[in-house]
């Protein structure tokens, strides 16, 4: 096993990239370039009845592909003592393969750049979104079935020498996917090595990706989850000096700077062991039994040949689409997709405690979770009806988020779910700061954590859910 550079050096490289403009193309030009890509691609996605989906059929009471490959839509029945819905049925996506989401990075003028791809997916809003260098299934990656070789595969499978900077398994949407995980990986190529540039790829700094995150549905979910795994190290005077030398316009000067209040490892409200105790107690408290059942057995859900939908049209439905997609090469295929009944909201509440920003993290149970509860944003109601007041339960802290004064909103933007499975689904991503009037004492399912504490949980895999990670990716460091 080839060892890495020192963690501290890697973290500083990420920090510099998060504070530096790109060398090759301005952020505005990336937007224009994506628009140009949009205009040259073929993108014809038509909803069609599930019963007419070529290659897909009902077998063993689940919707699956004739080849047995890809994924299937199955029914599950949940029993739990979490909140006040002790039992429900739902369809869920079962895709046992671990996906592969990878970025190549390389330093230009001392600044780490990410090789991003303008990629179309059938469910994409905006059609073309900024995506990782490589998105592949395990079968694509290992090429067990042959097929087209993915671009840049050689930087990830050991053929080319690289430094691995990040390599973690992270979960997908637990309300829609059963135990699905992706491998989130960032590799670094030597400064002196040429990386061939394909036409729909571009080098951008981390700061640019974070700037693009202020535009709705431009940066795809896979990019967001990969960059959410990045650690920036802890605040130190030395870091500050280095950052100023590398990037004078940042002009970081004093201990009360924003970067100190975000990155400090001092003055956290809870010790790590206390947070682990909190999680352990909740995993001990909440039971979740997930039973595989046939789709026809799922109570309150209807398959009518056209879609699989809830009898009250709540939550989501499963639709069929016929896709004709490509740039130079056009591919045609059919597949089922999940369509949300309405948009949702995912939001972190942030509060300064001991001079340091703390995020209010929720322990949330979802049917497809690998381990009962995952760490979620303060508010996450992907499929809720919160605007109509028709909830099965009241959503804690939703009012603080929806009624936040404008100057207290750190971040607000619509962002897409992954366009390979979710049909034109966007959710409002928000980060909202609260003041002294907001209590330190919170409900038992919630806990205050610093950014560094959240990132330590990200490092050890499978703790933060994808909604929390999506928000993490949007946190600015300046």
């Amino acid at each position: 096993m080839r060892d890495q550079r020192k963690i501290e050096d890697i973290q500083l490289d990420f920090l510099v990239s998060a504070l530096s403009d790109g060398r090759f193309i301005s952020t505005e030009k990336v937007l224009n370039w994506l628009q140009e890509q949009n205009e040259t691609v073929v993108n014809n996605v038509q909803p069609i009845p599930l019963k007419d989906l070529e290659g897909w059929h009902m077998a063993n009471d689940m919707l699956c592909h004739a080849s047995g490959k890809f994924f299937s839509i199955e029914g599950i029945r949940i029993h739990t003592n979490y909140r006040n819905t002790p039992e429900w049925d739902q369809p869920i996506i079962n895709q046992p393969e671990i996906g592969f989401l990878g970025f190549i990075t390389k330093k230009f003028n001392g600044v780490l750049h990410f090789l991003a791809q303008a990629k179309i997916e059938p469910g994409n809003l905006n059609v073309v979104q900024l995506s990782p260098t490589l998105q592949a299934t395990r079968s694509n990656y290992t090429r067990v079935h042959g097929g087209t070789r993915p671009n840049y595969l050689e930087y990830f499978n050991g053929e080319k020498p690289v430094q691995v900077l990040v390599d973690q398994l992270q979960s997908e949407q637990g309300a829609r996917f059963l135990h699905k995980r992706n491998r989130n990986i960032i590799v670094e190529v030597d400064e002196h090595e040429d990386v061939p540039m394909l036409p729909n790829f571009v080098w951008v700094s981390l700061k640019q990706i974070k700037e693009l995150l202020w535009y709705p549905n431009v940066v795809n979910m896979d990019t967001r989850t990969v960059i959410s795994c990045i650690r920036y190290g802890s605040y130190s005077e030395q870091t500050l000096h280095l950052l100023n030398a590398l990037n004078p316009q940042a002009n970081l000067t004093h201990k009360n700077s924003y970067i100190y209040s975000v990155l400090s490892e001092q003055n956290h409200y809870h010790e790590l062991e206390t947070i682990i105790h909190w999680i352990t107690a909740l995993k001990f408290k909440y039971e979740m039994e997930v039973q595989s059942i046939g789709l026809s057995q799922t109570r309150n859900w209807i398959y009518d040949g056209n879609t699989i939908h809830h009898e009250k049209n709540k939550y989501f439905d499963v639709i069929g689409v016929r896709c004709e997609i490509g740039n130079r090469e056009v591919h045609t295929w059919c597949q089922p997709m999940v369509r949300s009944a309405q948009e949702g909201i995912m939001a972190f509440i942030v509060k300064k405690i001991n001079g340091i920003y703390h995020f209010l993290v929720q322990a949330k149970l979802e049917a497809g979770n690998f381990d009962v509860v995952e760490l979620a944003p303060t508010v996450q109601c992907l499929t809720g009806n919160y605007r109509k007041g028709e909830n099965e339960y009241t959503i804690p802290y939703i009012d603080e988020v929806l009624n936040a004064p404008k100057e207290k909103i750190w971040y607000t933007c619509y962002q897409s779910e992954e366009g390979g499975r979710f049909y034109k689904e966007q959710n409002l991503n928000m980060i909202v700061e609260v003041g002294d009037e907001f209590p330190l004492e919170v409900d038992e399912n919630y806990c205050w954590m610093t950014l560094n504490q959240m990132l330590s949980f990200v490092t050890y895999n499978n703790y933060l859910n994808i909604a929390a990670r999506s928000l993490l990716s949007a946190i600015s460091l300046q």
Copy 2:
């Protein structure tokens, strides 16, 4: 949520306890006391045919209790690409409830003492073993079914104010249990609070527990797994001064001391991120599909009314026992137990790299693992036939362990598996130091880690398997 004392202070308290004699009773007297306990208890455990087990029966092709409670013996079929057995069937224990393993601690004269219990379990070698203050199932703990209230429950369920020092979910034997986890917890009672002493309980220091670990089958597995979760912090000059002040006979003087080479957080061979990359790559590489099947469907396994056993009498069998056990109060019941076909070995190889001890950790796949692979000792062949040379695969590094020169053996002792499920099962626990001749480059399933790195993985739950944790508990700090 009540917050903890500073982590550094808690870790120092554990370190002091690991270096201090007990205040109340010498380690020799603990052994005598256990012997006395042994002589006063009733312990009559008789193997009987499974078909005659009162309260247990075959239903849905599994062996379960008439009440639906406790646990069941079920069949599973495994498909995997790990090593060279791509498919096998086996019986496995399914006990979905999280167990509760808890120690009360309290400082006497500045030294943290652990309230240990002399406890009988039907499968125990030595009959009475030193156990945590509380061993309870989730149902015992929450008392959903009523029943006898466990002793000292009030220190763990929030009734009494305590400081939680450790609280983690950890796995059980992945080859025998399906996804079984226990909650390992250590609480601290205020120095000024009296804790009532029941006759079969004793206060011991951590050093004493570690001394008792040099006697075979005296300290039960539950105690070992709980104390394996303890972190001692990292080596510092300050720690050294404090330790010398508190315990002058330890006489820790220089940077080349054993404690430095065990606890230093400097000079590790691999960065944390590299180790995470190693684990991620293996979880990505190895597939494991576990399918629930009926016991009668398990190929190569036979249920003859008496036992469930392998057709070649390999691995283990499931037997029935009738138990009559107690000290003041005698309980009688019947239950199935797992009996190993022979003893096994679990051993860590240790090597000094950069002046710091590194442990050679194995990524091991077992059928009941929660997450494909767990971190295991260098050698772990619980059910192998290594002495007869009849292995299905060669066990790497077994020769280095079995042929280690006496002066290089840090630790060697037989230790029991948990006596509530395993019938008189003991395995040889070993820690063996290797020299410069042992290569730094190791097979892809192995990785060098320091003690502090292993303990960081313990903290984040579910990484180190129970065999590795059993060995961790035996590591002396002086």
